[in-house]
Structure formats: C-alpha cells, structure tokens
Amino acid sequence: MGKIKKWILAAAFLVILGTVILVNNRILEQKYSKDVMAGFYDLPEDSLDVVFAGSSHMLNGVLPLNLWKDFGIRAYNIGQHGQRLNMTYYYIKEAIEKQAPQAVVVDLYYAMEAQTNNDIANLHKSIDNLALGKNKLAAIKNAVPSEYWWEVFYNAYLYHSRWDELEEEDFTYLTKDPLSVTGGTEMRWGNVEFEQPHVIESGTTAVLEEDTIYWLNQIIELGKDTDTTIIFTVLPYIASDEAQAKYNEAGRLIEQAGGNFVNFMYLVDEIGLECSTDMYDSEHLNPYGAKKVTEYLGWYLSSVQGFPDQRENHDVDREYWDRLLLLFERKYKAGEISNMYAVDDFLSAIQDENYIVAIAIWPDQSLPGENILNSFRQMGINIDGLAQRSNQYAALIDMGEGVLVDQTENSSMLRVTKEAGGVSWQLTSQAGQTSIMVDLQEKAVNKSSMNIVVYDKILGDVIDSVSISDLQEMTRE
C-alpha cells in the first residue's frame, strides 16, 4: 500500500473515530433541561425582544409565550438550574450575540450568597447546555473551580457510565434537537401550600459578597456595552429576611448604577400571588404563579420600558410565534391534566377535539361509577357494553372525529389495532393484563382497573396515562 494511501486511511479512521465518539457522547450525556438551550439555538436569528436568564427561579418562573399572546413581545427563557451570576453573565453574553434582544431580564436569586459554586452537579446543570464556543470556554475558566475544568469541558468524563440508564430520549435527541414548546421555561406542575412570605422593610439591606458585586457590575457593563437593557429581578419565593436584605442591597447598587430592578417580593399582593396555590415548593413558582409574574412583567415591559406590540409589526414572522404559542398552550393544558387527581375533572378535561383517548379495561371489576359512565357517554361510547363486566373492553376515541373503536368481547382476550392521529394503536384487554401500545410502545399503567391513555394530536405525543380504580382513585406511573 502506498505511503500516501496509508496516511489518508489513517486520517479517515481518525475522522470516523472522532465522529463515533461524538455520537456516543451525545447519547450518553445527561439530557437535563436540554430542550431549553436547544430550543434557544433553534430560534431564527435576531428574533427575540426579551431574554430571561438566571437560576431555576427564572427557569420556572415566567411564561414567555404568554408575553406574545398578551403583549406581542417575543421572549425566551434560558434560565438554568443552580446557575450563579458568574455563569449567568456568559449565558447573557451568548444570548446577546445570538439574538441581540432589546432587554435581558436577570434573576438575582443567587445574589444572596457568594458566586463560587463548588457543587459539581449544579455546575453541570448550569453549563452543560451552553454550546461549545468562546463563551462556554470563558464560563469554564471564570465560573468553574479549576479542579472541575476537564470534567465540565468534556462532560463524557462524568456521563460515560450512564450506559446502564439510557432511555428512549437519549436516542431521540440523537437525530433531532429537543424542541422547547414553552419558550424555554420548565413548567413544574404541583403545589406545596405556604403562608404568604414575610416581607422586610425595603430600606433594610445587608452587605453583599465581593464577587456578587463584581458580577452584578459585569452584567450591568455588558448591558451598556451592547446597548441592551438589563432588568434585574427577584422572583417571589419564601425568602429569608437575610436574603431579602441582600436583594435590597443589590437593588440599591443597581439603581445607583442607573439600572432597572423589579423586586417581586414587594409585588406579591399586587400580582395576586397566592402562596397556597402558586408555589411548586418553597423556592419555585408553579405555572399558575409564573403566569401571574408574567402578566406583570408584560405590563412592565410594554408600559414602563415601552416595548412595542410586535403583532402589529409586518416584519415579524407572526405565524412562527403563533405556532409556538399554540404548542405552548397545548403543553400547558397537558401539564394541567397530568396534575389532576379528581376523576371528574380529568374526564372532563380530556374531552378536547385535539386528543385521542384510548381506554382498555381489565375485566372482572365492578361497574364504573355513574359519573364515569356519564363522561364516557359524552365521549360517544356505548356504555351498554361496559355493563357486562366479565367481558373484555377497549375503546379508541378521536375527540374531534368520534369513536373509532368501541368493542366488547366475551372471549379470553380482546385485541384491536388501529391507525389514528398519525400513529398506530394496539389495545389489549384480557384478564390479568391491559395494554395500550402507541407505535408499539407500551403506554398503559396496566393496573387491575380502567386504563386510559391520552394523546395530543398537535403535540404528537402521549400527554397522560392513568388508571382509575374501582374506588375512583387515579394512579400514574
């Protein structure tokens, strides 16, 4: 073999090896909040008016697509779990370089402490999703302790041992970037009840850590250098008095530097936040709380900062944003449904023309309650078949089109297959097992009761799977 050919082959081998390793690492990497930044990078260039940045408080705390819906403001949320201000600075830089937004709203949750982050798990969560480039390298250098540089730079160093916990999404993300249909926001459904937070006097302050002041100033300077309006904010949570005093001090420094500061700790009543219903936990808002914060921010951006309604702007791709809004609203509803535990509410909510509902019943149970039968009747099911409880029963209902399958069978097993909503369905009902497969993947909870799977035709995904027991208790996996 010629010498040149050997070298070419060696080079080809290295290229293939490198590609395989990249693919391998992409499969193995943790997909934690991956859709947030993947969705951001997927946005058309310079298509944002506002970017939200910061920690998980921000990631959970605003609903950017509601700003489009109500105020015509195009916004995206790039908050990341556990992110300190030193890291947020580089995310803002990245956002400005990619999108040149008019304003960046920066969460100040971590202003209450020093910015040095030695929690490697948190570091991974806060930096893994930033694309490799000069900002990521600078973030590693300046916001990551040197002992973790390698690990954060080449995160397969950490994730290589995930081979025994790979899931479908690890492979799905290989061929398509995860799409954030929430404008980046991670909606955390659920609720822990709290009393309204105790709020201290706005004049009470406490000294900030030196590095906190440094990074605050860096962000302010970045805004000035790039002609971007920086709006600092503290989102409402059950904050300690000491933390609130530090936020007040941060606000004082920001205003002294001519910056903008919106402290929601003092707006809890004004926005109508109810800590008994609007908190996911003591730190984070659930989507109901986020909705209230977003309404206020929309007002602030349009009325105080003078952001125009882009829905009137013919240069804006309105169709694109309306489509995102539609997907977001579907996702929001899906989240609400998956957080429902009252049978009547659930059966009422799934009667949506964009849903396909599959029902498979494990035989030999008692007759469903009258309320359930009524709901089924509203869906178009012939409930007479359900009265014979020793029979197998399966139904597939396209809420927009009507009942596709409503079958009772007095044999050892009932199995029906059907195409609907662009996917294949296989429903099985037999003693000891119920199965609802979507594209040959099991989705049923498979309990000895009524099993229901809900599929959203617009999202193209199963949004909920429950079983309802004889006692009308709902179970999810």
Partner: protein
C-alpha cells in the same frame, strides 16, 4: 503521572511528536527530560534518589570496565549492590525492620527502638533499582558494553514507559536501542497504539471494576462469608493480572510507538500447568532477574537436591520481600516457593500415580486439571498477597474452606458487593474477553498481527469498539478514586 490520567494523554503524544521531529543526536536527551518530568510529577525530590542510583551504577560500569582484575571488578559490583540495595532497604524496609526488631526486643524485655522513618515509598524504586543493578552485573559479566555517556545511561534507568512498574529491562536489550535511529512508521505506531488500547481495557474496564468488589469484601473481611471471600479472591487474581499486565502492555505499546522494543512481561500466566510454569509466565522480567542474578549465582539447579530446594526458597522469599515490607508478602513468597519445592519432592510420587493409574499426560483433560489445580494454588497465595495482615489472611482461608455457603452464589448476594447487577455482568463479560484473548496468545496467535491482516472495515470496527468499550465501560471520572496501578507500591 499515571498512564490512566488526562495528563498522560497529553504528555505522551507531545513527547512522541517531538521525539520524531527533533534530530536523532538529541533525541535521547529529550526522552531523558521527558522521563524525569514524568517521574517528578509524583514527587520531584525522589528524582534525586533515582539520579543517585543512576550515578552509582553508571560509575560502577566505568570502574568495572577500567579494572583488570576480577577481584577489583567484584569489589565495584559489591559496592554498587550494597549502596543501591542500601537505599532500597532504607526507604522500603527500614520501618519494617525496626518494627520486627522491636517485637523481638519486647519479648526479651528490652527498650524499644524508635527511629521511625515516616516517608512515602518512592514510586517504582524497586523497579529502577533492579534495572540499574542489572547493568552493573551485565557489565561485570561482560554482557554489555560499558556506557560512557551518563545521560544516555540515565535514560536507560529512567525510560518513562517502563520506569515505575516495569518491565524491568536489561541493559543488554534496552541500552543498545537508545543508539538506534527510529523513524515514524505507521504500522509500528498502529500496533503500539492497539497494545496500549488493550492495556487500557484491562486496566479501566476489568481491573478497576473488579477492584470495587475486591476492596468492598477485603476491606470488610470480618463481615464476609466464604463465598464472597472466594469470589473476591478470584476477582483479585483477575485484578492484579489485569492491573499489572495492563501497565506492561501500555508501557510496551508506548515504547513501540516510538520504535523501542520492550520485553513481554506476561504470557498467559493463568494457563500455567504448575507453579514453576506460572513463574515463567508471570512478571517475566522480575522472574528472570531473580533467576539470572540470584538463583544462578546461588547454584541454580546444578547442585544437590536440597541446595536446589534452598535456592528456590531463597528466591521466592526474596521475591515476596521485593513486593512489599510486610509478612503477608513474605508468606506469599514462601507459599510460591514451597509449592514448587513440594512439586519437585513429590514428582516421583506423581509419576508413580500416573503410571499406576495409566494416565495419559498428553490429554487435554490432564492438562486442564493441572491448569485448574495451579490456578487454585495461585489463588490461595493471592489471599496472603491481598490481605492486610497475616491474621486476616488465615481467617479468610478459614472462612473460604469452612464457612462456604454456596446458595449465596445465587441469592443476589454478589450484587451487594459494590457492583450492581449490570456492572457485575460487564465484569464477567470483560473477563470472558480476557479469557478468549488469552487462548489466542496461548496458542501463539498474536491478535494484533492477525488483525492487521484483516480487511479495513473489520479492523476499524474492532478498534472503534475497543475505544468505545474503554470510554464507556471504563471505571474513571468523578466519584472514582483514580486507583494507582497496584505494582507502583513495590
């Protein structure tokens, strides 16, 4: 600097690249600088010790070469051995010696000595000391030309691929290669890298994985039963082979990339059919060192039967002590020696048994039986090698033989020893790969050479799978204490 560190993955390509780029006449200086840097990454101060050993043995060579009388030559050999072994003794055995003297004094009611020498054992001191001493002896025997260039000689002692854990090279093999002009040859590089890859597989995928179970069990042996201790011992046999074998493979492979040929240090040791055969296959560079520089000078096997037995026992007790300053190592050496002596003593009995029972020694079954028995005996000795104390070692033996509850092999107990079920299965699977590779080697088939003959797609597939196996199944990264190669401590 560890072979399984990011530092080495940066260091090695740079050293190799520069080695081939710079003129031949200064390459040895470059390798010397690189080797000392490699060594000083552990502790710069200990480089002085290595330099001292180097200087003494280099000077001994010059003096031997300049001496005309055998007596004077012997004097220089003695001085070189005494000074080098003195350094080794001081750093490695001083505390052990004091401790044992104190035990004796205590029983006799005398005041105890208290000159504790509290320093960490310099990495690889036993290896480079033996390598340097081999030069003195080879120079004395006239087997090697006297090296006049101190820097070139210093490179022979400190050559980084095999510096800290062998193979213990002979001046007759390595020193002359330092004069060779090596050119960058793709086939040679490919073969060297493939051997390094196999070394990394042995270390990261097998040795460090089974080490988790071994450490879990042996560090808590008092709460273990015979089954877990037996499995841990079996795994330790795999661990120490893969750990040490991997270092040798990476060393040989790295040297090969640069054009050097180091000796093979392991030759399917667990396929040995006697303990003596095992030692012809295990740590070959050390075994042959002891053979050439201790066993033969003692008279070897060309003497009376009892002297021969004595010589074997001396060699293996010394070998045990070479591995560490602890009675567990001495006893490990003792068992390895005594098994061989008993083997020799009982040979007439075995021959008689074979004759009476009409056993055909050429059959596979007979050979397999011998391999199994040998493996069992070697595993027995590993208990003493791995245990922290003699008390622990004997207790572990007791539990394995008298508290063996076989159902624990099947009730999930094995998955509670630090490795999850998936990890345990990966360990078993990778040991199977090791076994298959061993069979090829045993049959005299060099897998790398066979691979070279295959089509491009198959070769590339195997290389890529190998890299992925190391990257994904390797035990490294956060939360993992990058365990050093076991033999570094010797």
């Amino acid at each position: 600097m560890l072979f399984n560190s990011i530092d080495f993955l940066i260091f090695f390509p740079i050293v190799t690249l520069v080695y081939f780029v710079i003129p031949h006449r200064i390459r040895y200086i470059w390798l010397l600088v690189a080797s000392y840097y490699f060594y000083m990454c552990w502790n710069p101060k200990y480089a002085l010790l290595m330099a001292t050993s180097t200087l003494i043995t280099w000077a001994s060579g010059l003096l031997i070469g300049a001496s005309s009388s055998k007596k004077t030559k012997k004097l220089w050999v003695a001085l070189s051995f005494i000074s080098n072994l003195g350094i080794l003794f001081f750093f490695k055995y001083f505390d052990f010696a004091v401790e044992n003297i104190n035990r004796v004094l205590q029983t006799a009611g005398f005041t105890l000595l208290n000159p504790k020498f509290d320093v960490i054992l310099p990495v690889g001191i036993s290896f480079y000391t033996f390598q340097a001493l081999s030069y003195t002896m080879d120079a004395y025997r006239g087997d090697v030309e006297i090296e006049k260039n101190p820097l070139r000689y210093a490179l022979f002692v400190s050559f980084f691929p095999q510096l800290v854990a062998g193979p213990i090279e002979r001046s007759t093999n390595l020193l002359s290669q330092l004069y060779e002009k090596h050119t960058f040859q793709l086939d040679q590089v490919r073969s060297g890298l493939a051997l390094m890859l196999w070394g990394y597989f042995q270390k990261l995928v097998i040795a460090d994985r089974v080490a988790i179970l071994v450490n879990t069990v042996y560090n808590d042996w008092s709460h273990q039963t015979g089954v877990t201790l037996a499995v841990a011992t079996l795994f330790f046999a795999i661990q120490i082979y893969c750990d040490f074998g991997s270092y040798s493979n990476i060393a040989v492979g790295a040297a090969q990339v640069m054009g050097f040929r180091l000796m093979d240090n392991f030759n399917t040791p667990y396929f040995a059919d006697s303990v003596a055969d095992f030692w012809r296959r295990w740590h070959i560079s050390l075994s042959t060192w002891f053979r050439d520089y201790l066993y033969f000078p003692l008279g070897g096997s060309r003497c009376s039967r009892w002297k021969r037995y004595r010589n074997v026992m001396i060699v293996f007790l010394a070998s045990g002590l070479w591995h560490g300053a602890n009675w567990t190592y001495v006893l490990w050496g003792f068992f390895n020696g005594i098994f061989q002596v008993l083997g020799m003593m009982l040979k007439p009995v075995r021959d008689w048994g074979v004759r009476v029972l009409k056993i055909d020694r050429t059959t596979f079954s007979h050979k397999l039986l011998k391999v199994i028995v040998t493996f069992f005996l070697i595993n027995f000795t590993w208990i003493f090698f791995r245990a922290d104390s003699l008390e622990a070692a004997f207790a572990i033996v007791d539990r394995i033989f008298f508290h063996f509850y076989p159902w624990m092999l099947f009730d999930g107990t094995l998955y509670q020893l630090g490795l999850s079920a998936a990890e345990f299965h990966v360990a078993v699977l990778s040991i199977l790969v090791l076994f298959v590779a061993g069979i090829f080697k045993y049959k005299g088939i060099c897998i790398r050479e066979e691979l070279m003959k295959q089509g491009t797609w198959l070769r590339w597939l195997i290389y890529i799978l190998g890299v992925l196996a190391v990257l994904n199944l390797g035990v490294y990264g956060p939360g993992f204490d990058a365990s050093q190669f076991i033999y570094f401590q010797f």
